[in-house]
Symmetry: D2
Subunit: 365 residues, 4 copies
């Protein structure tokens, strides 16, 4: 049952329920010597916190992170980093209806089927608040990657059938939807307004690009870099699809179209003319940018009446009340980026012992 | 670097290169008491072995499996099951060209980048022959699932842009492409003939349906059942995309369309009117059939001339010779089914200790 | 570097430094449905907290535990249990001397050798306070074991060369040394008084007996029950030796003396006439009580002058000041018990899927 | 149940039963570029093979190892190394008596208790032949260590109450008991002759010294270097006790006696005047030789009549026939050395990513 730990070398364990005392994460295996402050982490958490726009719940949570261990005199010590965000906004509201029924599209029924009962307050462990631990840890991972010259950029690629047509990275932070295309963001906003008026919600797609990965990272068989990314991204609640590079389009392609031709650049480095592979060949990075995408389902909490069942054996009609985002995508952008960062740091650490000559150099010099 | 082991309770470790002495797998953690013979495993291996149709390499390999340990008097003992397939058809051909260059779409360059050199004969460890160990282990996992009333059915959903329009399971074994639609199979065969004439190859999509899973299997956070399936399927060489249920289509959907309504059936069981979720909610099975899909890229080995580089720093034109499948999909169908079976058995084993009352019942009765 | 996680199914991750904000543990994989309150845990923590007798540091710490997650309406939910003890008594004293030198018998030098620097305040991560997380988790594990009819009893077997000669379990809680022999406790107390007068410290031996384990628990090869216990107990800071059953005495024995004869008792159960094996055969429990022992070295912090080095390349004489226990053993008794409990719960959970017939029964009934 | 895999980075999985087709091991995670031949491995296997002296079973097994994968052109490739020793000497003898009863001191009863039945031929999976896989993998690990300047020397320290009084390493290979003291070896041989005449067996102690370990290797909390060594050595069938450095003697010592004083040597290296700690402080190597000891119980198979039970519910008298070593110790010497080597390589690989500055150096240079 132990499923709240992720990673092998850079290992994180998240804990906490939506309406418990708080949520948090322990990072075990962070290399010593990284400068780290709570501000570094807060910047990431702010990207997912609610109340930022009309498309996120008006719930006001500060989501202020505290570092409880593992940092001394401003640097990581190599020992576990414990990060906590206390829950401040747990209203003592009446959860008896949610407690008694299974909301469509939620994990209510499956939790009960597994454990016999559940913490039903605000989604409990399957609440989006669980991702706070992931993002806090991802901020640390991303900072390590930056020191190694590796940068991640995630953004909203589409909402409903409105997709970006430019990739203007500077625009991402300018709109509430984190889209790198101001036009598309405007159209998507209008579409979401309609969804909200209809008491409905929308899905979308998140894309993440990783620059600067050296070639040869990842393990060739089960622990392929793309397989680990797939698991990481698919472990985010609402994700229903994952792609690397051309993804599902490769199923329509011919080999002559899909293969990326190698060439030597002026510095004698191996490069590729195209990047259909999305930066990974045979489960290892090939030096080109890694490109991944996640399909995110529409928020299951909608205000339309829905057919469902209660725990007493009755078919019922449910009308969900309260405050819910009409789209999960924008707040999940930083979660995707965080999970990708965790996978990359882990793979880079693991890779250091892949050649005997490197071990000899490391220990005998 | 240890990346050839998969699973936690039902743990498999594959080994072997295309042109070494053989390929194999050790299954550690198989429950005791399962009737098992080499025939059980051979049936699965035969579904991926070459030489079955004009769309697979004419290479004749028997791929005959031997059980070296873990089975006594016809039953598994609970100790490791070692399975081996000796390589019989390693021609002592000249590999100097492949050794010297990096084939587009292959792992040649990334292997070299990681390890400094590679076993270049026939793709070495990144050869499709590595999947023999997966399928042999998958056959054992599938047999356990069958004892529990769980059945997996994988098939080719599309090749290029030719997709099935019926789901006639009886038809799957009738055509060389493992398509559950005779018409689509005929069209796809014609399309592949064209690809071969053009010295090219095609991608496609594999789908797998799992019936009979009880609800509540899988862990709610990182080790979600769909996340583990994503990793399992993405660890297969040519896979570039993965979906559960409606997958990428959910990104276009509204919540009211995508949510599956619950109801009680006549026996008082919780059921769903639709299955957009593909049988998994919050990372745990919901009792509906699990539906997953994998996008498979076109075979990278094509006979058209391609631009690439050699290890001596030169840009070259490569013309691959030899024998290669024009499409990976049909032989990968049983690999997808096998990887899914491995994930499910593992999750079912892990789940047994999720409630204290079950532990008390198990040990105190 | 990730070395702060222990266990496979019942997995714990500890965090925290002696003089940081606090210390804690996350338990991932605790079965759902266990009644659990902070009092259950506090009882265990109180057995290791300082200030209980003249043989423990007079430092006054309440070590009050808080449950931050994983418990709902008084029962564990199956999700991670986060436990924290805030540090209240971190005096802002001057650590410059300890920071600059390597104390003999401590981890100062090895921490620096590994990480390049360390949190030197009060021992940092290698402080005895790290065991608070272990004991908090051990309390939960022990409560599960009790529900299964399994009980652990740990006590001080010897201090210096004063060893118990009776095993009066009722006496354990009556003396500050946790010895099951009032006479031995009195003699050991006098001996410790002498050590303190000499500004010195003493080692000792802890023994733990586990009753009620069913037979067949543990895995036969690397994850033997005794091997996992060995690792668990040896991971406690000051432990330098570990034994099961007759332990090192078996090296002097003959097979005819050391073998335990089996017989059937009046109820038809397989029993053993003796228990030289200490309840484990071939790595699996044999139904007899499990008996283990740990040798604990003397407290390395002594007030006598000692030769050592500083970080500036000089040989120096060190006189440690402050407050230190003259013996580690009594406070480590509950740590040994906790680590043993963690191993047993894990093994019991893992064992549930060892037979196919049990899986079929579990899922098909 | 998956307990046949050991190690995290350098991960081995053993398989095979005494009287099955063979025994073997898969090494996953061996660094690429190590020169490796079957002779390297055979040298280690020869140290444990039977028929070497009158104190080992006269059974003649060649135990010839074959490398099936992972080595190309004489060097490891970084992919799994599969090693197999086929069983040549499985006599089709009558095992009905052993099948029906539980031998004292063996795992017969516990195997049945766990799995419901067992492969009873020659001990099945709990046979000493299982260690062939460990030794084969240990040979590879030891070769890596040698490249890093680290050497392991294991030997027999005592048999019964005859202990070595000198440490003449050159003598180890000169006597059948692997004792570094010719006198002690002669006395122990005479003692074993007596044991054999009495149809009995003897226990003993194995010691292993490791030179050349750099300081700072191992993880400070649960995965302490000594904790991992404890588990590794305790996972060997007949081991009942484990010590590091002064071990159980530290329980009698005072802090002033047990602490090792640090000093700077002429080259400015941190050294210790004594080595009571056995080369490990706070779970990390301190640069001094690592010294460990294992207590090995007497061979449980003795020819004296013994009381036991059969599977039909009867108390019986058992007289074991066949061929058995009167002492396990000499053949286990190389097993101890192998297990220690596996732990050290793993810890050295894991340690490479413990500092950010090392990662930056590795990837940015």
């Amino acid at each position: 049952m132990a499923g709240s730990t992720f990673g092998k070398q850079f290992k994180i364990t998240t804990w906490g329920e939506s309406h418990g005392a708080g949520v948090g994460v322990v990072i075990d295996g962070c290399p010593a010597g990284l400068s780290l402050s709570s501000e570094d982490i807060q910047l990431y958490l702010n990207r997912r916190k609610p109340g930022q726009s009309r498309f996120t719940t008006p719930r006001k949570e500060d989501d202020a992170v505290e570092i409880l261990s593992g940092v001394f005199e401003g640097k990581t010590t190599g020992t576990p980093i414990s990060l906590v965000v206390y829950n401040c906004n747990q209203k003592s509201k009446d959860y008896s209806e949610i407690a008694a029924c299974y909301r469509p599209g939620h994990a209510d029924y499956t939790f009960d089927a597994k454990y016999g009962f559940r913490d039903y307050r605000g989604g409990g462990r399957s609440s989006g608040r669980e991702t706070i631990g992931r993002v806090a840890a991802g901020a640390v991972a991303a900072k390590i990657l930056k020191e190694l010259g590796i940068n991640l950029t995630a953004y909203t690629k589409s909402i409903g059938d409105i997709s970006i047509s430019t990739l203007d990275l500077a625009e991402i932070a300018n709109n509430a939807l984190y889209m790198p295309d101001a036009d598309a963001a405007a159209k998507a906003s209008a579409y979401l307004d309609t969804c909200m008026q209809e008491h409905d919600s929308s899905g979308g797609v998140i894309e993440c690009i990783i620059d600067g990965m050296p070639a040869g990272i990842g393990e060739p068989v089960f622990d392929k870099l793309d397989a680990d990314l797939a698991k990481a991204i698919f472990s985010i609640g609402a994700v229903k699809g994952f792609e690397i590079g051309d993804g599902f389009l490769t199923s329509f392609a011919k080999g002559s179209e899909n293969n990326d031709a190698f060439f030597y650049d002026e510095n004698g480095n191996v490069c590729k003319k195209t990047n259909h592979a999305g930066g990974i060949l045979g489960g290892m990075s090939d030096g080109a940018p890694i490109v991944l995408r996640a399909a995110v389902k529409p928020t299951p909490s909608i205000f339309k009446a829905q057919q469902t069942v209660n725990r007493s054996g009755e078919n019922i009609t449910l009308e969900i009340k309260g405050r819910h985002d009409p789209v999960i995508v924008p707040r999940a952008v930083v979660v995707v980026e965080s999970m990708a960062a965790l996978v990359l740091v882990d793979a880079l650490m693991e890779n250091m012992s892949s050649r005997l000559e490197h071990m000899i150099e490391f220990y005998n010099s």
